[in-house]
Amino acid sequence: MNSNLNKSIVLISPLDVVLTGLFEILKGSVAGEIIQLRRGDEIIDYPELTGNFLVIAVPEELEKSTTLIRHILPVTGSVQFMALNLDLNSALSTPSISINDSAALICYKVNEILNSFSTNPGKETDTELTRREIEVLQLLTKGYSNKEIADQLFVSTHTVISHRKNISEKTGIKSASGLTMYAILKNIIDVTDINPDELI
């Protein structure tokens, strides 16, 4: 359950019928969260999107979201992209699903990509933390103060403190340096991203 929590799917299409249809097809066969967006740039409203996720979008929106994800989101895991082909007459070269694929084929293709996340050696995060908590933890391990973390995540300092409390309760680790060690052991951050002499 833990590793699946970090594998979510973002569906992007301006068409409600497509979003709903794909959601219905996928919801039973994937363990992670499925987020539905009408436009690629709405992904900016999901700063808590970290860990591994798969974006499935119509080609135009795929492009928009790709740029955004690459440049703006503090992405930590890996991101995969899949084109959603609504045009029966054209074929796409990137991993894609087509509007006339069967439900079983769509599930198969999607799961194939989702499973490839975990075969990425050593990169899988295995943690009981929520996405938001992971994000707070990442900033914490970079040496940011509660106030700075709050500013970056657009939440109140109070919220950050309550996240920190939950992180400590779930992990059993209270000190900042202990949490840094935890984050490294759990692949939430990379040891090369921090200065262990300073932060541990």
Partner: protein, 243 residues
């Protein structure tokens, strides 16, 4: 739950709770006490009987902490006990921890990232711990002992006032919680988050020592926070009223 008293045989006390062994050592009792009662032993070695009984009970039973009675003991007696406890940490528990953690980690050299992290964390914890103890022994305890003397001997007051213009222990108070947290964290990292391919027996040996250390330290901090500090505040009030 049973409290020990002056008529308890020390040997049976130890059979019931062997974690008291280092405690009786630092109170001045060595092994080989036969069937003597606590009273016999304390009389023989000129150890304060009440202090001995209260300290072992406080250590033995976490919920037992008779503050009023504990506050009756002299500052110098409490500090002497605390300093002996520090010596036990510095001379024995810490080196023993060093040895056990190295045995544990070095048996698994392929886990070098994990080993480095744990070593770093442990070293930092140890440094902080030693600084804490040094501070207490070189700054805080001397202040408390001098404060105690100045109350008994009013003539030395001007000297004392010159040395400590705003005589207040609050400037010396140091948090214990940060140290406790780090110790807890170290235990949890090893128990919950290290990969399972470490030598389990060596891990257990290190953890057992750490649990013992933790118990002892909690008790020690409790005496500092709830006996020594209130006593010092009392003395400061007395001094203030003399001004």
């Amino acid at each position: 739950m049973e409290l020990f008293n002056e008529n308890s045989k020390l040997a049976s006390v130890i059979h019931k709770d062997h974690s008291l062994l280092p405690v009786i050592n630092r109170l001045g009792v060595k092994l080989g006490f036969g069937d003597k009662t606590i009273r016999n032993i304390c009389e023989e070695r000129e150890i304060d009987l009440n202090f001995f009984v209260e300290i072992i009970n406080v250590f033995h039973y976490e919920a037992y902490f008779p503050e009023k009675r504990l506050l009756d003991f002299s500052v110098s007696m409490v500090i002497e006990y605390l300093v002996k406890t520090h010596r036990y940490y510095i001379d024995y528990l810490i080196p023993e921890n060093d040895r056990l953690i190295e045995l544990f980690l070095s048996a698994n050299p392929e886990q070098s990232t994990e080993n480095d992290l744990v070593r770093k964390f442990y070293t930092k914890f140890k440094e902080e711990f030693v600084i804490h103890i040094d501070f207490e022994e070189s700054v805080m305890f001397p202040y408390v002992l001098e404060l105690n003397q100045v109350i008994e001997n009013p003539l030395s007051r001007p000297n004392f006032r010159q040395k400590y213009p705003d005589f207040s222990i609050s400037g010396f108070e140091k948090e214990h919680s940060a140290m406790d947290d780090k110790m807890d964290d170290l235990k949890n990292i090893i128990i919950k988050y290290l990969p399972p391919n470490y030598d389990q027996n060596r891990g257990n040996a290190f953890l057992s020592n750490l649990f013992m250390f933790e118990k002892d330290l909690k008790n020690h901090s409790r005496i500092e926070d709830h006996i020594l500090l209130p006593k010092v505040k009392q003395l400061e009030m007395i001094l203030q009223s003399h001004e």
